[in-house]
Subunit: 283 residues, 2 copies
C-alpha cells in the first residue's frame, strides 16, 4: 500500500517524519494538493497564495517561499521520473513542540511534499459522478473556515461513506440544512441558465478551481455566476450539477438519490475553457 508515493522532508528525499510533530499530534498545520502535468505544477501561484493565507490564519511563520523552492526542486525530480500526471501534496506543520495544545513561541515549521502518479489523463473530463448525501452535518468554525488545515476527519467520514456506498462523492450539508460542498471539492449548480455556488463563508475549503470558475472560466463563456444559499430542494431540481477540485478540475454529477442528470453541457463547456487555461497558464 502507498508504495508508489515519493516523499521529501524539508526538501530532502526521505520517508519519515521526526517525532514529536504538532501536525500529527493535533492536526496543527496546512496542506495543498497540486496537479502536475509532466512535472509542471498547474495553477501554482493560486496554491501558494492560499498556502500563504492559511499560514497567516494559523499564525504560522510565512514559509511559503521556502515551500515554493522545495516545490520547484520536487517538480524537477518528477520530470526526470517521466510521470505524465501526478498529485503533489505540500504539508506544512508547526513542527516539534513541548507537550500541550498551546503553540510554542519559537516555531520551525516542517514542510513535507509527497507525490503520487495518477493513471488517468487529466485533460479528459472525468466520468460523471454518483453522489450520496453524507449522514454527517459539517460543523462551522468561522476561525478556520476556508483554511486548508489538517483537521479533516469530517471529510474522511463523508468520503468513507461514499466509498462504502460505491458512490464517487458525498454531498455535505451544514447544521442548518444548507448544501456546502462535496468531501473533496466545491459545488456548482446550473439553475435557469445561471451558475450558483454556496458562499465562500460556508465552504470548508476555498478551492483554487472554484475561484478559477468564478473569476475566469464562467466570465470567458459569458455565464452569470452568483454565490447563493443552496438547499436540497434547489439541488434536486437544478438543470445540472458539477464539482471542482485541483486533481479532477470540473466533474459533472449524474445522480444523487432519486435525482439524476444525463447531459452536462455547461460543465463540458467550462471544462474546455479549463483546458485552455491549463495551456495558457505560466504556472
Amino acid at each position: 500500500m502507498a508504495s508508489n508515493i515519493a516523499v521529501w522532508l524539508d526538501g530532502v528525499p526521505g520517508s519519515s517524519l521526526p517525532l514529536p510533530d504538532r501536525g500529527l499530534d493535533f492536526g496543527d498545520g496546512l496542506f495543498e494538493t497540486l496537479l502536475l502535468e509532466n512535472g509542471r505544477a498547474l495553477f501554482r501561484q493560486a496554491h501558494l497564495e492560499r498556502l500563504r493565507l492559511g499560514l497567516g490564519a494559523l499564525a504560522l511563520p510565512d514559509c511559503s517561499s521556502i515551500a515554493e523552492q522545495y516545490l520547484d526542486l520536487v517538480c524537477a525530480d518528477i520530470v526526470s521520473r517521466g510521470w505524465p500526471w501526478a498529485a503533489l501534496r505540500i504539508t506544512v506543520t508547526r513542527g516539534a513542540g513541548e507537550r500541550g495544545y498551546a503553540a510554542p513561541a519559537q516555531v520551525t515549521p516542517r514542510i513535507i511534499i509527497t507525490v503520487s502518479p495518477l493513471q488517468h489523463d487529466c485533460r479528459q473530463m472525468p466520468q460523471p459522478a454518483a453522489l450520496v448525501l453524507a449522514d454527517l452535518r459539517l460543523s462551522s468554525e468561522p476561525f478556520l473556515a476556508g483554511v486548508k488545515h489538517l483537521n479533516r476527519l469530517e471529510q474522511v467520514i463523508a468520503a468513507t461513506q461514499a466509498r462504502q456506498a460505491q458512490a464517487d462523492e458525498s454531498v455535505l450539508l451544514d447544521h442548518s440544512g444548507q448544501v456546502v460542498s462535496v468531501a473533496a471539492g466545491n459545488l456548482f449548480l446550473v439553475v435557469g441558465g445561471e451558475l450558483l455556488t454556496p458562499p465562500l463563508a460556508v465552504c470548508p475549503i476555498h478551492g483554487t478551481r472554484r475561484r478559477l470558475v468564478i473569476e475566469q472560466l464562467a466570465p470567458a463563456l459569458g455565464l452569470d455566476i452568483r454565490e447563493a444559499r443552496v438547499d436540497l430542494e434547489v439541488f434536486f431540481s437544478c438543470d445540472e450539477v458539477f464539482f471542482t477540485n485541483s486533481l479532477q478540475g470540473l466533474r459533472p454529477v449524474k445522480a444523487l438519490g432519486s435525482a439524476s442528470w444525463e447531459t452536462y453541457p455547461v460543465c463540458q463547456a467550462l471544462f474546455e475553457e479549463y483546458i485552455r487555461e491549463i495551456n495558457s497558464c505560466a504556472g
Copy 2:
C-alpha cells in the same frame, strides 16, 4: 526543543513516523494522555476503555489490546529511567493509505507512544489557574463529540490565546453561548452546595477525570452532582470553579475576567479524595 521526549513506534523505540500516514494527513486517529507515577500508568483501564470506544467511533480496527501491551512495555522502561512523574501519550492512526480522504478497506493502524518527564509533584493540588475567555466558539460535531481524535486545532487556538494572555487556560463556549470546557479539561462549578458540569453531549472530550469526579469522588464526599447547561452568568456568579484533566487531576480556578475566587474548599476536598483513589487504584 522537545529533546526530553522518548518515542516508541509500534512498540519499538524510534523517533520518526513512516510517511504517508493518515494521522498526519487528515488527523485520522485518536490519542490518550496518561499520567505515570514511577512508571505506573494511573487510571489505565479508564483510558484503554475510552480508546476502545474511540476506535469504534472512527471505525478503526480494535487494536486496544496491542496498545495495552505496548503501554506496559513502555511503562517498564520508564521505571528504569527513574522518572517520578511523566506524561505518556498513546496516538493511534489509521496508518498508511492511498491518496484521498476515504479510509482504505484494509487498515493497519500505527501506535505511537511518547513519554515526557514532568517536573512537578502531581500529588500536590496545582496552583489556582487564571482563565481567559476564548475568542473562538467551539463547533459541535455530533459524530465526533467526546471522541479524543487528532483534530485539535480549536484547542490549539484557544490554548495559544491563553498562553499569549499569560493565563493558564481558556474557557470555551459553543455557538449558543453555552460553556463547554477549557481547552484541555472538563469544567465543574459549585453552585449553592451542588456541583454542576456541562453535559457529556456538549463536551469535546469525555474526560477520564470528569467521569471519576462524577462516579467516585463526589459520591464519596456525599456531594450532589448534576449535568447542567452552564452559561457565563452562572459561571461568573458561582461559588467555586475547577477543571479536571489527566495530568493535573483537579485544578481550582482563581480568575476569569473580572470574576475571582479566593478559596477552593470543594476542589481541595475532591483532590484529597482523588489522591486516595490513586493510592487504591490497581491501574
